[in-house]
């Protein structure tokens, strides 16, 4: 009984972590949140794809609300060389993060 309780706690903790979706898929609402910056859905999707492939090579993904909106371009730029990102790829990642951040 004790083992089942412990297992339940572990499963609950893991489920709670899983529910915190740091990189949700791109939807029209997200694209709409970029108004003024004119970013299309395809760029946002590419930004998300690159974020989950390149950035996790070195570290886990922090919640986007950990850092201020204006800090994100410099944060991504500081690691873009290490992640072998071309300028257009770096900009796509920043666009996705800013769109996500704008929704929060």
């Amino acid at each position: 009984m004790k083992k089942i309780s412990m297992l339940s706690v572990v499963v609950a903790c893991l489920s709670a972590c899983q529910l915190t979706d740091y990189v949700p898929p791109v939807d029209p609402q997200m694209a709409a949140a970029t108004r003024g910056r004119h970013v299309d859905v395809a760029t946002l999707r590419e930004g998300r794809r690159l974020l989950v492939h390149r950035c996790i090579e070195c570290h886990t993904l922090p919640p986007v609300w950990h850092y201020a909106l204006e800090d994100w371009p410099n944060i991504v730029n500081s690691m873009s060389h290490r992640a072998s990102l071309k300028p257009v790829e770096r900009d796509a990642i920043v666009a996705y993060i800013l769109a996500l951040r704008s929704q929060r």
């Binding site: 915190t20 090579e57 070195c58 570290h59 886990t60 922090p62 060389h81 290490r82 992640a83 072998s84």
Partner: protein, 250 residues
């Protein structure tokens, strides 16, 4: 001399075109599902110290030098330039070259956006009295700052004069790592080995190791250290092992 010069220019040209960091390791006894970024080149140096006392005391220090190359977003290759070791026990003491190896890892699914991140791994190593085939399935899940990792490995090994001695090994490894900050993570690693001398299981050799790890990364380098202690009591196996991997990108 001309050949050496040409070779140096060739290597320098490759290094100049491949100037990114392959990625940091959170574990030393487990591989992670994400593969190196395409176009990256990284040198990883492995040092593993083992000490055993059952039945007699021995020390062994293994060295590996791995050149890791990111080919595509899903494929990476590694060349193990030289695996060599220092051993010290009542019967002998000294350095020995063991083998060199090549390895490929192909990533199938992503540990963040897919239910489980999966990769497959293949390695071939050969030396003067050593030949080994190793295959691995790597499963990983990232849950926020927590990384859960599982490897299952099958090895076939031929050793000694004429490669007459052969054995198989099935190994499963489980690891958890939590990122305290983007630069520092701490975790635990478990190893469970089934050894099959001469492809048989009469001796029922089972080894279990467990212990903590810590990883630090900054700029284009990282260092990860794991200390494992044996939870079983198998003769001629290490009581504890300390592995350090230091990697840097060009």
């Amino acid at each position: 001399m001309r050949l050496a010069l040409r070779l140096s220019i060739f290597v320098a040209a490759i290094l100049l075109t491949m100037s990114a960091f392959g990625g940091a390791r959170h574990f030393t006894y487990l591989y992670e599902a994400p593969t190196s970024v395409p176009g990256s080149l990284e040198l990883e140096n492995w040092i593993t110290w083992q000490r055993g006392t059952n039945p007699a005391r021995f020390d062994q220090v293994d060295f590996r030098h791995e050149l890791e190359i990111g080919i595509t977003d899903h494929l990476q290759a590694s060349i193990y330039l030289a695996d060599w070791f220092y051993e010290n026990d009542p019967s002998r003491s000294g350095f020995t070259y063991s083998d060199s190896a090549i390895e490929l890892i192909y990533n199938l699914t992503n540990p963040v956006i897919d239910p489980v991140g999966l990769s497959v791994y293949g390695e071939i190593s050969g030396g003067r009295q050593h030949f080994e085939l190793e295959s691995k399935l790597i499963a990983q899940k990232n849950l926020g700052q927590l990384i859960l990792d599982y490897n299952i490995t099958l090895e076939a090994e031929w050793e000694e004069q004429g490669l007459q001695k052969h054995q198989g090994e099935l190994q499963q490894a489980l690891g958890a790592s939590y990122e305290l900050s983007p630069r520092i993570s701490v975790g635990l690693e478990f190893l469970h080995e089934f050894v099959f001398p001469d492809w048989g299981d009469e001796e029922k050799i089972r080894n279990v190791f467990a212990g903590p790890n810590v990883a630090f990364r900054r700029g284009n380098w990282f260092v990860t250290v794991t200390v494992l202690a044996q939870a079983t009591d198998t003769p001629n196996e290490a009581d504890f092992m300390v592995r350090t991997i230091f990697g840097f990108g060009f």
